[in-house]
């Protein structure tokens, strides 16, 4: 689990959404994929598709590559192509503002921050816990890497798991 690469992803997504790009790509890794799926689940990004160095073909109707495209399909992951795979993300905009606001790392490569459920309860109520600032604005999210995959902070509290705090969106 390389937090260096994750930090690069965060700043790349910040740059891409400031440039109002509709589609962007990040290096493929299990961590990135899980995080992107969590972001998609929260509605921050519109699509996550694993493809090659060039953008995968667009879905006929959606206009962005889709993982469940029946016509184009998705290339399978093999040992020969795994190194060249990238994740292609569809970015969302609403009223000409990016839906994915500012992504910032909480854990750093040199200082990983873990948090337990008690601390997380405080955080989602807007209070500070340890090194983690509270979620004080509407629509703010915090993503954690837990035993049960990458989850949003509120999901973690619901499932009573703590974990490594990855990044925050606001």
């Amino acid at each position: 689990m390389s937090l260096v690469n994750l930090a690069h992803v965060c700043s790349h997504l910040n740059n891409a959404s400031r440039a109002r790009l509709g589609l962007t790509s990040i290096p493929n890794s299990n961590l990135h994929l899980r995080l992107c799926l969590a972001l998609q689940n929260s509605g921050y990004i519109s699509s996550v598709v694993r493809g090659g160095p060039t953008p995968p073909p667009q879905h006929n109707i959606l206009g962005v590559p889709a993982a469940n495209d029946e016509i184009e399909g998705v290339q399978s992951l093999t040992q020969s192509n795994v190194a060249s795979r990238r994740l292609w993300l569809g970015l969302k905009y609403w009223q000409s503002e990016p839906v994915l606001g500012k992504l910032s790392m909480v854990s750093k490569p040199k200082r990983r921050i873990n948090i337990d459920v008690t601390g997380l309860r405080r955080v989602i109520r807007g209070e500070k816990s340890g090194y983690v600032e509270g979620l004080r604005s509407p629509g703010e999210s915090l993503y954690l890497s837990t035993d049960r995959g990458i989850l949003e902070a509120r999901e973690c509290v619901e499932k009573q798991v703590g974990g490594l705090v990855l990044c925050r969106i606001h």
Binding site: S42, G43, Y44, K92, W94, Q95, E97, V99, I124, R125, G126, E127, G134, L135, R136, S137, P138, G139, E140, E152, R154
Partner: protein
């Protein structure tokens, strides 16, 4: 948040009116029992063992359930119907075989059947479209009756009054008297239920638009006269460009927050001018800032005030008392952070931001001003921060998620009556705006 509320038909007057009380039972976040709107059950309690399912009903129908009328029932029918009608009823009964009745008894088996028992003979306002009078009922050329018409009506009433007529005839006449000339349906059963009432509340036909003049009004009038005298060109232009009335502008709270001299160095020497920055607000969500420069200080103050009034814009407020989440603003080297706070917290911030919040009608707020604390930039940055709040509804729409305000979970989703309750805010205030998957 309107997203959490189902849309209701605005036109349909028979749909239940929007009320603050929740109808859908929700998950409870508190141990006290939920208070339902009406505790008395509307329908008698039916035990499961006493009731029959639709399948049982349809299976158990036998020809012997459809017996011809007994003598007693016939005697009862005789009281209601004429002999001809009775003969028609009996002929109809005899024409239908009880076996057919049992087979065709109206509980449908097809896949498109209703999942509840209903013969669709009555109109349920909650389920069915309500019946609206046809458009042809409208009469656009209808006019009010004149005094003469009313006199004619009275004359006709007295002429047609039977000899033993009494108060009941009079009441019936008054109830049924029409006030318009034209199509009768247009008055009695109009096409749209949204047609405004003929009379405003308290207004009657005999009302002569009498105005009661009180000493207080006299006083106000004289004040208004005084105002007219001091109506300047600048004020006139302000009223014209904004569309506000002078009375409204009088009610606005304006304040000059920053003023100092600025100097322009020309080859003729230094030209000193007064700089002024003012704020204006109506104490209920509107706030504007304006700045002006002039040789005369009074002129600069006035100009900046008018510009502030011109620039007034609505500021998003949570529960009309604080802001949505924490917001940051930056102008030049001034960086500040405004923080949302629970009810009763007050305005714990420096005086410039305090004045702005007071003008805008924000009561609970904390602020930190970092780096430079230049007054002019502080005001501008605070204004930028207040305008930069993100609306939760927009966030919900952008992400396609349903956002629920956890604070509204208490008191069964009702807003707190203003200032009647002084409770500590639950810890889960704005920040803990929970997120749920949009299921509806």
């Amino acid at each position: 948040m309107s997203l959490t509320r189902p849309a209701r038909c605005l036109i349909c007057s028979f749909s239940r009116g929007a009320s603050a009380a929740t109808r859908v039972p929700r998950r409870q976040f508190h141990p006290s029992p939920a208070q339902l709107a009406n505790r008395k059950p509307k329908f008698p309690n039916v035990k499961a063992k006493d009731s029959m399912t639709l399948d049982e009903l349809s299976q158990n129908m036998q020809p012997h359930h459809f017996q011809p009328y007994t003598e007693e029932q016939k005697a009862g029918l005789k009281e209601e119907y004429t002999p001809e009608q009775l003969a028609a009823i009996e002929a109809g009964e005899a024409a239908i075989d009880p076996k057919d009745m049992a087979e065709q008894f109206g509980i449908r088996e097809d896949p498109f059947r209703l999942n509840y028992l209903d013969d669709l003979s009555t109109i349920e306002p909650n389920v069915d479209h309500h019946i609206r009078a046809p458009k042809s009922n409208s009469d656009y050329s209808a006019t009010f009756k004149s005094d003469e018409d009313f006199l004619d009506d009275f004359a006709r009433f007295f002429a047609e009054l039977p000899e033993d007529g009494g108060a009941s005839d009079w009441v019936r006449f008054v109830d049924n008297a029409r006030v318009t000339l034209g199509k009768e349906e247009s008055e009695r059963n109009p096409h749209s239920v949204l047609v405004p009432d003929l009379f405003a509340p308290g207004e009657t036909l005999s009302d002569d638009n009498k105005k009661i003049v009180t000493p207080f009004m006299l006083q106000k009038q004289s004040a208004a006269n005084a105002e007219n005298e001091e109506m300047t060109d600048a004020l006139k232009r302000l009223l014209q460009s904004t569309g506000y009335s002078s009375a409204f502008v009088k009610t606005l709270s304006t304040k000059a927050l920053v003023s100092h001299f600025v100097v322009n160095q020309t080859r003729l020497g230094k030209v000193r001018r007064m700089y002024c920055l003012s704020i204006a607000g109506n104490g209920d969500g509107l706030l504007g800032i304006g700045e002006a420069k002039s040789e005369e200080s009074a002129d600069a103050v006035l100009q900046s005030r008018y510009r502030a009034i011109r620039n007034m814009q609505p500021i998003p407020r949570y529960e009309n008392r604080t802001i949505f989440g924490d917001v940051e603003g930056k102008v030049g080297a001034t960086e500040l952070k405004l923080m949302t706070r629970p009810p009763g917290f007050g305005l714990r911030c420096q005086h410039l931001i305090f004045e702005m919040c007071r003008a805008a009608g924000i009561q609970d707020l904390a602020a930190r001003v970092g780096r430079s604390r230049n007054p002019m930039n502080t005001v501008k940055a605070a204004y930028e921060a207040l305008m930069g709040q993100r609306n939760p509804e927009d966030i919900a729409r952008a992400r396609g998620k349903k956002l629920v305000d956890v604070r509204k979970v208490y008191y069964s989703g009702r807003e707190l009556p203003k200032k009647s309750l002084t409770i500590r805010a639950p810890a889960a205030e704005v920040p803990a705006t929970g997120e749920k998957q949009l299921t509806a």
